[in-house]
Amino acid sequence: MPRGSRVQDDQQERSYKSLILSGAIAVFFFILIARLFMVQVIQAETNIKLSKENRMQLRILQAPRGQIFDRNGNALARNRPSYSLCILPYQVKNRNKLVEKLLKITTRKNERIFKESSELIARLQKAAYRRFDATRIKEDIPMEITSIIEEHSMELPGIITEIESRREYPLGPAAFHVLGYMGEIPEKHFDSLKGQGYHYGDVIGKAGLEYQYEDVFRGESGQEYVEVNAYGKRLGAIENMPRKEPDPGYDVYLTLDADLQQLAYDEFPDSLRGSVVMLNPRNGEVLCMLSNPSADPNIFSMATGLRSKQWAEIATDPDLPLNNRAIGGTYTPGSTFKLVSAAAGLASGEITAKSRMPRACTGAYRFGNRVAHCWYSKGHGRLRLPDAVKLSCNIYFYQLGLKLGSMTISKYAHRLGLGEKTGIDLPGERSGWICNEESYNVRHKARGWQWTRGIVLDVAIGQQHIVTPLQLACMIGALGNGSDLYTPFLVKEWRTGSGIMVKQISPKTKSSPDLDSATVATMRKIMESVVNPGGTGWRSAVPGIPVGGKTGSAEWKKGEKTHALFVACAPVYDPVVAIAVVVENAGHGGSVAAPIAGKLLRYYFEHKDEGASLVKQYTARKNNAE
């Protein structure tokens, strides 16, 4: 006999316990009945009123999205009101009749808002899947149409108008990559965002700052219960129902300067690809950031039909206009990298400004069984460092590279911020890559390539490496500055709509180039000589301000024009601006990239307060010295 039979409950105890349990349940049921009495009898009147013809509708009160301003308070992104036509399918009694009526609606100019009945019917059929949701059937309709709809709401059951706000970007394509754009949440991402308070059909930042600072811009939507009549028209909020006011998003102020941004866009050759980055090396504030080709972010706020057509063009453009080349474009630095090799040589004590290399430049250099060339086939002769940089002599740097080794050069490249993400507050930044013995073997392991000592020749003159224009601007800024490399940033602060400060971003040092003062001084002189008359970068000179820079013409494909590069900082002895210009497939840095930089620098020192006051100081100092 199994054990179970041994354990028995006492008869009396069983009665007592089952009564206690029954009693407890009865108490709970009494509570439910009391509550039912309250809801169904005492509050019945209110509830019956609310339920009549289902008059209650929950309405989302969209929070106004925060605006974007530049450093001087010029609007870069703002909101405009827009009306759209929606349908509540469950209120539609006769679809064919409704289609007939909708097709009749015209503007004053006699333009019909719905062109084809087949398109409209398709939209209504699609909307019918969400019977109780208002589904948009026409976006961005003219104001006059909304009043027509309101007047005829009795004849158009189930049709309602909704007001929403759309994003507008005054600078258009000039600031596309920095600001980003807005778009509807894709259906497949909707589930994961629902928990964060997003609703179906909401728009969300898709790229650039709109994406990066979505949470700052967005605010928090509110809700209210509105009474709706049998035709779907909203009569107003219902009293005594919970209501939540929307919380507007914060306005964001950038470090960007709209004038410089516009100028960069205007000066950059329309048909060419490339990028311009200008920043303040004293704190990392980015003054302008351009990537070309660009797109107009306003098209993403257009009505769907127009948008999808233009979007298709942009998305399929082989020049990849959606790619922000300033942070996502990776380029060979070419001769601009010679500044890094020079600084590495000086700082490591291997050379001085006066030392020459053992072999003279004859236009070619034999290493093992490889012959490497200088761009100047007649040969530069035996140069000292300043002239070697100024004339961009490859032969000098081949020998410097052999002397220093790839690890030393790459160490200084990293200290100057190359080959790693700068940490700018934008999505999609790429890190680039600095070539040295170790990283080469790791990167090319799959191909089975092994490092050979000859590669150090390429390393020293800036071939092999991959950097972004933003890194180049940081690099030249840090070389001029000598002490600190700041993390570049775009958002300075955000405020409430009424101007109350919410958060201020303070500059952050990323790393220190760790160069001794003698090296810094020599490097400044060398950089200045590049821009001075006779140097390759003379087209970027600014009257009254000593500019330091370096040109580069990077080979990227045999038989194609080189990428033109130019980096500069000014004033070179204590820079307030650093600039990097990259123009793809365009020729020489000195003739293509330097003039663009020159225009921006001259504009800065003529028209911007910070620049103009410096010009005054420098002229006064010069006059005193004389």
Binding site: G4, V7, K17, L36, V39, N47, L50, Y225, R243
Partner: protein, 425 residues
Amino acid sequence: MPELEKKGGFDFSFFFTAVILWILGVLLIYSATHIHETGPLAGVSRSQIIWVTMAIVIVLVIVSIPTVFYYTFSYVFYGLSLLLLVYVGFMGTASKGAERWIALGSIKLQPSEFAKIGLLLALARYLSTKKISLEHISSFLVPIILIAVPFVLVLKQPDLGTALVFCAMSLPLFFWAGLSLIEIFFLVSPGISLTLSAIPLILAFGTDQTAGIAGSIPWGIFFLILCAVLYFTRPNMIILIGIVVLNLFTAGVTTLVWNSFLQDYQKMRIISFIDPQQDPAGAGYQVIQSKVAIGSGHLFGKGYLKGTQTRLSFLPEQHTDFIFSVLGEQFGLIGCTGVLMLFLFLIIRGYLTTRAIRNRFTNLLIVGSVSIIGFHIFVNIAMTLGMMPVTGLPLPFLSYGGSFTFTLAILVGFILNARVSRQDF
């Protein structure tokens, strides 16, 4: 109860009441969904007819198996239900964001449902041979482990509702197995401490004031009552200190966690769980609409298939968790009270069955089954009336759903399985 023996032990009135409720459920589900000619809700009532038919077969199968079978294999069932829970934790297909289902072809199984059965069998088996008492803390060790394992697994899903079912079903079982009402009170006192200490914090959130001393008064009063009870009942020293410390600890930790660790958005989530009306677009939307629907039913209701609120389906879950609002709108206070009476009849009749049965395992199985059903009924209806958080517990007999209907059928089967003739094993 002599009639049990007379009629061969099968409680026909219990069985037919259950069947009537099931049929009523099908009718309500039809009323809630019949306007959907296409889409996911079309034909829902037809599949419920299939579930219910299968449920009745399950009841009859469960009834026909001798009780000794369940006794013998109780731990095996428990182990299997745990395995299913673990399996769904790794492999389950995502459904509504939480991993809760196992897909068997077109049928989706919810292992947390079967864990209720598994835990019930295991606890009934264990408690049928052991007496438990607060005087011997060690007597709790095994039951606590038995509860804790599925509790944690289910909580991870996360399915708070089912986790609460595990706790709620254990209390009547403990009571049956020897705990006095006072001891039950001690056992739940930390839970009460947690609730009372959290209320002032929640009320103060969103206003500018911080919860001051005044906010601690409700908890203070409760704590004094607890101390008074402890003084008069004089349990042994370890219990006494344990209970006092545990209550102070939960109250303290609640305050500390709330003030120092939780972010505002996490607090909002807790608040909208406890008071859904704070979140009118989310959980609150359903509760508000459900209250309006029930309230608009008034005394006699709008009539079958004539509900406007529920018919227009503003409630996304109205055929499952919010089915009671369909009943309330269409049949009014009279209908609701009627159904509540049928429920109450089932529960009390279920509990009273134990008076005829000497076998402790059988009785524990009955008490547990009835308690699970009762807990679901109370929590679900209280939720549709806006008195309780939305936990996702369905309403027995009336809600749509395969897994839960099967669980319920098994529980009903356990209750009907009790026979005087079978009690000696």
